[in-house]
Amino acid sequence: MGHAGLQLVSDMYMQELCERLIQRFDCDQVVHQKADLSLLRVDKDKLESTLFYLKTHEGFVHLSFVTVIDYIEDDIFRLSYMLHNYDSKSDLAVQAEISRTASTMHSIHHLWAQAWTYQRELKEMYGIDFPGSPRVNDEFCLEGWDGPPPMLRDFDTAKFCEERFVDREGRESQDIKQTMRENLYPERGES
């Protein structure tokens, strides 16, 4: 488990912490990834208070990142908030699931000011709205984007490119394995 020499946290610490959180916030599921990394899933309405508690009571004062995974099959977005504790040198990912069709989430910019940048990115790339987050509707890294949010899994990039950009005539796709065998290693048979 982890780096033997560097490990500062015992397994017990993380387990106890997670048990406390489960009692207090009625979390669904805990994955102990490593001794110093755990995943925790809470209801989306309890996420804000969970993060607030972790920040003020448990020493998880640093928000490392906010990210989202698009589970198109289950029609959900899974948001992950990765927190870091400088004292115990451990990480905790708090996850919340929201509906993919009505994708709105509570903003946490009042807990960590840097969160609004992540929220702005998620708004542009996945179309998830964070009401009240500063400048959330501004352009983040795309300029004058007029298509659907580009990181959604049902956004067909190849089709979009075909419509917007022009291929060079004569460009053809080849089966690399087949082409290399025919042109470079003709003496080698089927393997």
């Binding site: 795309l142 004058g144 956004f155 990039t157 950009f165 060079r168």
Partner: protein, 229 residues
């Protein structure tokens, strides 16, 4: 191996693009519709004019010889390929011995290297920089991405063919081309300039409307003058 090379051979830059009907510069006055009324007063609204070669001809040839020996490159790293320019300029490959040097401003540069992929956002800056360069000016497309999109062939935010947006004088293919390939490319550009074959800037003027239409098709937020001079 030869068959492979034949298959992979890239067509010449002019293939399948600008109409080249030589209609000449579009209208004398550009609309600058992307700017506010206030800003329209601040920017030039004249269309570019073609470059007239010196006459008699030997004077033009003499000037071409000078241009070929003082290729000043705009130090604008437009993509990942710019990383190959650093070893090119420093002691190992020392491009300075061929009269190639970096300039910090488009006003002093005559060669623009579009190094690798260019996203829509970068393309806008590339166009601005290119148009601000003084003629005669040359464009080098560096890397496969400028030729047919390369590994970004299905990227929603990256152009596939540079020659639809800017007149490309020379391509150096590869992903990434090594500094040796770049040097070979510069030597080829030098030969072409000396032979008077690099008429990219004039092509840009002649097919100005075609290039602008292509540029505006992908750059949706056009908040700059139609011709940046």
């Amino acid at each position: 191996m030869n068959d492979v090379n034949d298959k992979l051979k890239i067509k010449s830059p002019s293939a399948g693009s600008p109409p080249g009907d030589g209609k000449g510069p579009a209208s004398a006055q550009l609309e600058n519709a992307g700017l506010s009324l206030e800003e329209q007063q601040l920017f030039c609204d004249a269309a570019p004019v073609p470059y007239e070669p010196y006459s008699p001809e030997f004077l033009e040839r003499f000037h071409n010889w000078i241009r070929a020996n003082s290729m000043w490159v705009l130090a604008f790293g437009t993509g990942c390929g710019a990383i190959e320019l650093n070893p090119l300029m420093t002691s190992r490959f020392d491009a300075n011995r061929f009269g190639i040097q970096m300039r910090p401003t488009p006003r002093q540069a005559s060669v623009l290297i579009v190094a690798g992929y260019s996203s829509i956002k970068t393309l806008k800056r590339i166009i601005r920089s290119y148009e601000q360069m003084q003629g005669p000016k040359f464009v080098i497309g560096l890397g496969i991405c400028t030729i047919n999109g390369g590994m970004y062939w299905d990227s929603y935010n990256t152009i596939k063919r540079l020659d639809r947006y800017l007149p490309v004088d020379l391509y150096i293919t590869g992903c990434m081309p090594r500094p040796e390939a770049l040097l070979a490319g510069f030597m080829e550009l030098k030969r072409k300039i000396k032979a008077g074959e690099c008429d990219g800037a004039n092509r840009y003027v002649k097919d100005f409307e075609w290039y602008k239409a292509n540029q505006k098709k992908v750059i949706k937020k056009w908040d700059m003058p139609d011709y940046n001079w």
